[in-house]
């Protein structure tokens, strides 16, 4: 497939593939006013949610999962499933189920929702809806009966599928965009991060005294609540944890959540394995993903697994170690170092000169020499290029390997010039060398790392948005099932708003071009 050049003059252009045609939006610098304008209002967000075809696709999924024999009887539903999904996504907008119910009880707000949905659902069906929206009882029944655990699991899988589709629709994860290994674009790097949402339960007490009667009364417990350490927070956080994968462009509020997965302290493999499974799943769905970025949850084993299986680079912080404990200090930070093992090729390469002491640290290679005063001197080797090779296996699957070209000056001999593998090789296991832990596609000392790892830091803004969206910065749901449903629908709400922002920006740029 021909790939478009990324060296065209002017601002980078994103091409969306949805809506039966392609839309192009230039990534232009936005003014502060323009960026703030993309935040929208509550009503605008509800309109975007109700008019999102993906929400209705999910609703159809719920309806199919709950289809039952007509002869069983029972009262007909007061609202179709899409209304309850709009309600659930509205919790992201209004902050709680209670606030959502109050807002949708307003005929004006509900009318806006129904009018927006009329573009997607049958107009006749929309006209037959009650004059006000669902209330908390409808929502509680929906969570308990309609959205059973099996339906929720299917919904989560379908949401990933739709998330990838939405990303393509709004110009992200373009599979035809050209790139070089290590020179990834922001709109094609998926950020993964774990987010601990605070539990709605604010106390550790199991009982509470009724001040009027002196009676001990049990406090409602949140079965999903666990203790987690959280970066940037003193002490610990009591809450429930989700892995969230997202991709965005430099445009404000132009972000798509690709997948959500709940996990807890008992999940085998912990955060690292959950992120890995999510990344592998997404890479299989979206060929436009160029790279993943995550925090220190991913160690060498995870990095090797993801990069070898998907061919996507991973940008993660290098392993740290103090100088006192044997680390190499680079830029004021100590990095863990391991000697580069002696492969057969290296033995041959350095046979004539006797060999060099090479250390793998901070994602790249360093040579250690001894100065005349006996002090060790470390010098970073020049890395010229990074490339990716793909090998087709007998079973039809692909295995990828990354290589970096290094040059090592050798006094009295010709310079050594070679391609160093960046993913695990056969010799590494024998030497006990965890290659991906110490060598990276994007080394921490290189010019790209700061820019690319900033994309991981950018996921924190999504975490903050989601956290602040909920009342009291606490997840307004009890138990894993309900909390997963609320977070999943919050992702649907985010993706619906990304579609709105994309369409709005495309229209604005078209108008500006026409003028």
């Amino acid at each position: 497939m021909a790939r478009r050049s990324s060296r065209a003059a002017g601002p980078r252009e994103l091409r969306g593939s949805g809506g039966g045609g392609s839309t192009a939006v230039s990534v232009v610098a936005q003014s502060q006013r323009q960026r703030r304008a993309t935040a929208g209002s509550h009503v605008a967000r509800m309109r975007a949610i109700a008019s999102d075809p993906h929400l209705h696709a999910l609703a159809a999924h719920v309806s199919v999962a709950n289809r039952r024999d007509h002869r069983v009887g029972g009262r007909p539903s007061a609202y179709p499933d899409w209304c309850l999904l709009v309600f659930g996504a509205g919790i992201r907008v209004f902050g709680s189920a209670s606030a959502t119910a109050r807002a949708l009880a307003e005929p004006a707000v509900w009318g806006e929702v129904v009018n927006a949905a009329a573009a997607v659902v049958d107009t006749q069906a929309a006209a037959e809806l009650p004059p006000v929206g669902p209330n908390r009882d409808h929502w509680a029944y929906f969570l308990k009966r309609r959205l059973n655990p099996e339906a929720l699991a299917e919904l989560a899988a379908r949401q990933r599928e739709l998330g990838v589709e939405r990303a393509r629709e709004v110009g992200l994860l373009d599979p035809d965009a050209a790139y070089s290994a290590g020179g990834y674009h922001r709109d094609q790097v998926v950020g993964l991060d774990g987010k601990v949402f605070s539990s709605p339960l604010r106390t550790l007490d199991a009982e509470r005294v009724d001040k009027a009667t002196g009676e001990f009364r049990p406090v409602r417990q949140d079965p999903a609540r666990q203790r987690y350490g959280e970066a940037g927070v003193d002490g610990i956080v009591w809450g429930t944890k989700f892995a969230i994968a997202s991709v965005r462009s430099p445009l404000a509020n132009h972000r798509v959540i690709l997948g959500v997965a709940h996990f807890d302290a008992a999940t085998p493999g912990g955060e690292g394995r959950v992120f890995t499974q999510l990344a592998l799943d997404l890479a299989a769905r979206a060929p436009g993903i160029q790279a993943f970025t995550a925090d220190g949850a991913w160690r060498g084993t995870h990095l090797n697994q993801i990069q070898a299986a998907t061919g996507c680079g991973v940008i993660a912080p290098p392993r740290r170690r103090t100088r006192r404990n044997g680390g190499i200090v680079i830029g004021g930070h100590g990095h863990a170092a391991q000697p580069l093992p002696w492969s057969r090729r290296r033995q041959q390469r350095e046979a004539a000169c006797g060999g060099h002491q090479l250390w793998a640290a901070a994602g790249t290679l360093f040579e250690q020499t001894i100065a005349v005063d006996g002090e060790p001197v470390l010098r970073e080797l020049t890395r010229h290029q990074t490339k990716r090779d793909t090998t087709r296996r007998k079973d039809g699957s692909d295995r990828h390997q990354f290589y970096a070209r290094y040059t090592l000056p050798c006094p009295g001999h010709p310079d050594h010039d070679w391609w160093e593998p960046l993913l695990a090789t056969g010799d590494d296991a024998m030497a006990g060398f965890n290659r991906c832990e110490y060598l990276r596609v994007v080394p921490a000392t290189g010019p790209h790392h700061r820019r690319l790892y900033g994309m991981r830091q950018d996921t924190e803004s999504l975490n903050a948005q989601l956290e602040r969206a909920f009342y009291g910065q606490r997840l307004p749901a009890w138990g894993v099932h309900n909390q997963t449903a609320v977070v999943l629908l919050a992702a649907v709400a985010e993706n619906a708003w990304a579609r709105h922002v994309w369409n709005h920006e495309a229209q604005r740029q078209r108008s500006a071009d026409a003028a």
Partner: protein
């Protein structure tokens, strides 16, 4: 029954006044030649061991251990060498100070630098407790602090790790290969087994000669200059 055990038994009997003289003292046992085949390191491997035998960038223990082994020190001598045994100005080290095979060995520049770097680290680590007469040169603790049967394995492990890190994994190569290299290097320089015995602290010339590898001499002997030039 080992002769040493027999002699010890007699000593115990004498101490208990059950015997008057040690009848095993003059007993000689016909020795069978050792079937150990020497596998000395090659000069290229030695160079690599010096350059790339560290476990971490600040590692001074393994280079010091390897440096002493390459001068021909035994495991026990490596373990018992202290800072005061090293004469940095003269480029010499005294090996086997408390044994019958006490000797002074001249060092090359690379070895002196490795030992000097180790001493700098040991001095920094010891701080106020610095005592050159007890601070070990190539061990973490003074040799007396180790159990008697763990000294040799500790030295052996340090050398094995250094060899592994330097990518030296030829069949037959083991920590003892460093000492065998020292023997062959001396023999290549001087062509005299007596010099080999003197450098390595070996009493028996036959034992010293058994460390010489003819194949090694044929391949690498020329690297050490014509025989007799010292």
């Amino acid at each position: 029954v080992r002769l040493a055990a027999l002699r010890s038994a007699f000593d115990a009997l004498i101490a208990a006044e059950a015997a008057v003289e040690n009848r095993a003292a003059n007993v000689q046992v016909g020795r069978s030649p050792s079937d150990v085949v020497p596998h000395p390191l090659t000069p290229i491997e030695v160079e690599r061991l010096r350059v790339a035998g560290r476990l971490n960038p600040r590692d001074t223990l393994r280079p010091a251990c390897a440096a002493l082994a390459l001068t021909g020190a035994t495991h026990m001598e490596i373990a018992s060498t202290v800072v005061a045994d090293f004469d940095s100005a003269g480029g010499r080290v005294c090996l086997g100070r408390t044994t019958m095979s006490e000797r002074v060995v001249n060092l090359d520049t690379a070895t002196s630098m490795a030992l000097a770097a180790r001493i700098r680290f040991v001095r920094w680590a010891a701080a106020a407790a610095w005592d050159p007469d007890s601070a070990p040169l190539a061990m973490h603790r003074p040799v007396g602090a180790y159990q008697a049967d763990s000294v040799a394995p500790t030295v052996s492990m340090n050398l094995s790790r250094a060899l592994r890190r330097a990518g030296i994994a030829r069949p037959g190569v083991r920590p003892r290969s460093c000492r065998e290299y020292a023997a062959n290097a001396v023999y290549a320089r001087t062509g005299r087994v007596e010099d080999v015995a003197a450098q390595l602290g070996i009493v028996s010339l036959d034992s010293a000669f058994r460390l010489i590898d003819p194949d090694w001499q044929r391949r690498w002997g020329a690297h050490f200059g014509p025989r007799g030039d010292g």
